[in-house]
């Protein structure tokens, strides 16, 4: 709107919006606050918001006792590893489909989409058994492979939509300028595709980090990422809310930050480009 909205209306909407926003955000906020409480404070009623004994002991305990770092490392490696391998396969595919489409390209894309729609439980048993028999259970390599395949359709689609947005005329200009195919890719296409590739990378990191089916089914301790680690808090002994909060805060913090930057990418990636 080119005209300004009345300040009074703005203030009313601000109040409503902030109220609802805080309401929705509350569980996360509460978790963060609880992570700084002692266990006693954590379960105390009435719950305290600001005036309690702030402490960092939970973070210390979580990191030492449960070898939190190992799980975090796993999450990082799974996220980065699957992203890397997925991109290695996805980029050429998306390039080919965007710039050298055949008659079958459209069908191919739809088929790839359909593989994403298959319920994981349909593949759970065979994958589990194959992993078991090949000693891949609870290995990072195994999970990276699974995560890579899981998200490959989304990545290919996303890269495809980004590549299609590159004006073909610019590539033709480079051909007129005498660039061989290799040089065209290197000097013109790749620099122009970098934002799209970065977006796709970001999306996959988020998806891989939060993946909570295969990581739960196929790992126990060695390759377990944070999803599995947090899940182990579901059958605890004794008081644990503050520690759970600390562990949770650490587990979700990176993605909350990344996600803030990746909103557009989330929309494009998760709707297969249907909404942009």
């Amino acid at each position: 709107m080119a005209r300004t909205v009345s300040t009074r209306r703005k203030l009313i909407v601000t109040a409503i919006a902030w109220a609802i926003g805080l309401l929705i955000f509350f569980p996360i906020l509460w978790t963060i606050l609880t992570s700084f409480k002692t266990e006693g404070e954590a379960i105390a009623l009435p719950p305290k918001f600001l005036f309690f004994d702030w402490t960092l002991e939970n973070y210390g305990v979580v990191q030492e006792r449960s070898d939190y770092l190992k799980f975090a490392m796993n999450s990082i490696m799974l996220a980065l590893g699957s992203t890397f391998f997925a991109l290695v396969i996805a980029i050429p595919s998306a390039w080919a489909m965007a710039f050298a489409p055949g008659r079958r390209t459209k069908d191919l894309l739809m088929w790839m989409l359909s593989t994403k729609m298959m319920p994981p439980v349909g593949a759970l048993l065979p994958i589990y058994l194959i992993f078991r028999d090949f000693g891949l259970l609870d290995t990072r390599g195994g999970i990276i492979t699974v995560l890579m395949l899981l998200n490959l359709p989304i990545l290919i689609w996303m890269l495809y939509t980004y590549f299609k947005e590159i004006p073909g005329e610019i590539l033709e200009a480079s051909r007129m300028d005498g660039a061989s195919l290799g040089k065209e890719l290197l000097y013109v296409l790749t620099p122009m595709a970098i934002p799209g590739i970065a977006s796709t990378l970001l999306l996959n990191i988020i998806l891989a980090w939060n993946e909570a089916f295969w990581t739960l089914a196929l790992t126990t301790k060695d390759a377990a990422p944070l999803t599995q680690f947090i899940a182990s808090y579901s059958s605890p002994e004794g008081l644990f809310w503050a520690k759970l909060s600390a562990a949770s805060t650490m587990a979700i913090a990176p993605i909350l930050v990344l996600g803030w930057f990746a909103q557009k990418q989330l929309v494009r990636g998760l709707t297969f480009g249907a909404v942009k």
Binding site: E172, A173, S174, R175, M176, D177, G178, A179, S180, M192
Partner: protein
């Protein structure tokens, strides 16, 4: 040097035939304009010459050599795209020098050539800017600079001025024509604007639905259109086309007379007409009249013409300027 010929060049996408088969000979140093309505295939033909589209059959010869299957960069041609197609991540310098870099020229030589091209096009102070920081006209110059710097045998222009505003368009037109004079290179220029075609071309190629209707100098097409299509396309405002009983009097299915070839009289003339609308341009006045059996016609009056609505006038065509067409739309030459 820069001769280009098409021999039965054909382009089809599966069952859809864009160009049935084109034959054309372009002389060295000519400024040829491909003109026609949207979808007539002029851009396709240009791209076939450039090598950006394969030929389904036929051949293209450049300088007598068969270039039909050669890559675009080997044809010695440069192209200026409608959208300029500048490399957004490179500076102006990068854009202009890219082709030379691909050709493997030594750095010093590239620098010199880029500097020269930039000076010619008044781009020197913009050399380090990125395309997004430039205006439309400046981007256009960069596109031209990129084309010039490789010293090609021929230049290809794909509707380069259509994204510019009117005033800029007129200026750039003159600059391109000057460039042609200075460089003496062959130039093929695609446009849908027949004014551009008429003012810039040595020869015009009129295309209609993939078929070359006529090739000739601007005045040839103006004075001797071979078909109804060419007659109606060239010349602004459009030639008046009359059918029916009036046309029969001249022994043709359709006759044509340009607005500027009709004499206006208040008292007598061949065709009586009533003025419906007048366009006052200052230097000319265009009257849109209802000429009864002749239908609606446009007439040009010189200077300022005081036109009142529904006024009755008489129109007389210059006899030597009447064009006659048969039932297939072809010109009848006595």
């Amino acid at each position: 040097m820069g001769t280009i010929s098409l021999k039965n060049a054909r382009k089809a996408f599966g069952d859809a035939v864009i160009i049935p088969g084109a034959d054309l000979d372009i002389k060295d140093g000519e400024f040829v304009v491909f003109v026609g309505p949207s979808g007539c295939g002029k851009s396709t033909l240009l791209r076939m010459i450039a090598g950006l589209e394969d030929l389904t059959s036929g051949a293209i010869h450049i300088d007598g050599k068969d270039m039909t299957n050669e890559a675009p960069s080997k044809r010695g041609l440069s192209m200026v795209f409608q959208s300029y197609a500048l490399y957004p991540h490179m500076s102006v310098r990068g854009n202009i020098s890219f082709g030379l870099k691909m050709a493997g020229l030594p750095k010093a030589e590239i620098e010199a050539k880029v500097a020269k091209a930039a000076a010619t096009l008044n781009l020197t102070e913009y050399l380090d800017r990125k395309p997004r920081q430039l205006s439309g006209g400046q981007r256009q110059r960069v596109a031209i600079g990129r084309a010039i710097v490789r010293n090609p045998e021929g230049f290809l222009f794909d509707e380069p001025l259509s994204n510019l505003d009117a005033a800029l368009r007129v200026n750039m037109r003159l600059e391109i024509m000057q460039m042609h004079k200075d460089l003496g290179a062959t130039m093929i220029y695609v446009t849908h604007d027949q004014v551009e075609a008429m003012t810039m071309a040595d020869r015009i190629v009129v295309l209609n639905r993939g078929v070359i209707e006529q090739v000739g100098s601007p005045l040839e097409l103006y004075n001797k259109p071979d078909s109804l299509f060419v007659a109606g396309f060239i010349g602004s405002p459009k030639m008046n086309l009359i059918q029916g009983s009036e046309a029969k009097k001249y022994d043709a299915t359709t006759i044509g007379i340009r607005p500027e070839h009709l004499a206006i009289s208040q008292k007598e003339g061949t065709w009586p007409a009533k003025i419906r609308l007048a366009e006052h341009l200052g230097a000319d006045t265009f009257l849109h009249v209802d000429a009864g059996p002749c239908g609606m016609m446009t007439v040009r009056a010189e200077g300022e013409y005081d036109a009142t609505a529904d006024a009755k006038i008489f129109l007389t065509p210059e006899p030597s300027r009447i064009h006659r067409f048969d039932k297939d739309g072809k010109a009848i030459r006595k």
